[in-house]
């Protein structure tokens, strides 16, 4: 996998941009090429915000990705907008806490993560983005688990409790992702 692209999409306030940035840092830690690009412009006022991260072993060409390999959607409008855009053979991660739709596409893999519930349970309701990030890494291995863990320690380490719960949900998300992939692999 020489290049991997992930789009995170949701409402403002769901930690969309942070999720993308954490992934980018983890990519850099692995000495990969990375681009993070946010949506700006009219979308920003429309309710959905998104960002895309490209992680690559080689020089990155286009920072704009029409059909990313993976899209993580955090709310309903994002699901509607982005579900059709996942690259064939790619991965769609759905925050099932807020989205009760499912994808009909047969050319992609889907993963439903009750991110808000898991975050609340872990005592850090704001960490649903980390749950999804964990799941993404579990399901895709776009970066190593280690790398993202170290990144989170470094970037979110200033608040001790928050860090602990973040690492906890990261792990949970990761396991979920890995398991799902194994399952799929069996098919």
């Amino acid at each position: 996998m020489s290049q991997y692209e992930v789009t995170f999409a949701g409402f403002g306030g769901q930690g969309i941009m942070t999720a993308g940035q954490l992934l980018s840092y983890a990519g850099i830690a692995e000495d990969k090429q990375v681009v993070w690009i946010p949506s700006y412009g009219p979308e920003m006022r429309g309710g959905t915000a998104y960002c895309t991260v490209v992680v690559s072993k080689t020089r990155i060409g286009s920072p704009i990705i029409s059909n990313p390999r993976c899209i993580c959607v955090f709310n309903r409008p994002s699901f509607d907008k982005f579900e059709p855009m996942v690259k064939a053979g790619g991965l769609l991660i759905v925050n099932s806490s807020l989205i009760n739709s499912t994808s009909d596409r047969e050319d992609i893999r889907t993963l439903y993560v009750p991110a808000n519930e898991m975050a609340i349970k872990a005592g850090n309701p704001k960490s649903s983005n980390i749950v999804v990030l964990g799941a993404l890494i579990g399901a895709s291995e776009v970066v190593k688990y280690d790398s993202i863990e170290k990144t989170i320690e470094k970037k979110l380490g200033h608040k001790k409790e928050a860090l602990e719960s973040n690492l906890k949900v990261l792990k949970q998300g990761y396991e979920l992702g890995r398991k799902a992939m194994k399952k799929k692999a069996k098919v």
């Binding site: 412009g41 286009s62 920072p63 704009i64």
Partner: protein
Amino acid sequence: MTKVLMKGNEAIAEAAIKAGCRAYFCYPITPQSEVAEYMAKRMPEVDGVFLQGESEVGVGNMLFGAAATGRRVFSTSSSPGISLMQESISYMAGAQLPVVLVNIMRGGPGLGGILPAQSDYFQSVKGGGHGDYRLLVLAPSTIQEAVDLMMLSFHLADKYRNPVMMIGDGMIGQMMEPVEFPDKYEEPPLPDKPWALTGAAGRKAQVVKSLFLDPIMLEKNSWLLHEKYEQMKLNETRFELYKVNPKNEILIISYGTMARICQTAIDELEEHGISVGLFRPVSLFPFPEQQLLKAATQKGVKAVLTVEMSTAQMHEDVQRIVMGKTPTEFFGRTGGVVPSPQEVIDQVMGLLDKYPGKKKAQHSASKSKKAQGK
């Protein structure tokens, strides 16, 4: 030197500081306001001047006054704001002041939109203000390059006593990439600045001006500027070749982030056995004319394709330079629409149809309906 992940706008700001710039004037405008916001925090930390002006007209002229001190000064804006600076830019060019400007371009004309575009090429490269003058124009395609060119801009501005403008589409401002900053910015030695206004102590009073009521003097000034531009043409053309080689059937000319999109298209085309080269001018003025001509007239090249986020601006320069020696074609999206690699691929496929000459049985990269329909 460690790698940090930075937003383009912030990296540009930090690069300016690294290059020794301690004076930044601005007026907020999307998509470059983060430069101002970053500078508002950073400048006081380095004992520099941060000032938000009342307008871009004001800012252009604050820059003018500040540059006359001989120190490194800087401003950033986006398309409509740059239009408002045209008078002051013309004045600063006429008065031979080294200033550095960045235009993070958005869609125009008019208020237009705020998404990425490259439709200010004419304005920056040909001169949006009045009179015979030129800006030295640089166009980065990555954040690292933005940082490097940013620092270089200050050097070149001083070297030529001329305004330098770096232009990037909104993506350059908004995206994050890992960048490295030198611990200390090293640059070749530069001439003194005896023209700087420091007070008439121990020397005659002097003046920084663009007024020459005597036409002979004004003409002299204009040819002197012209001579500098000729020097730039000799010394400061910058460009990058990507997969330019004798097998190329098509040569793409594209700059900035648009060139990266073309790069992705070229990689994909290559996988399908189609050889396309990319000529990416990094300096838009001076334009790497001879180098482009050489690449465009390689033997196998059937056509040259300019790809821009505009309705064709740089393309006029490409036509001028290639002189019909190879057919010149254009593809562009504008107004904030960023073409996808696939669209570029489709264009290339279309050109291979239009200019056959060689077999292309193996060509099947095109996936768009339009191309498939052919």
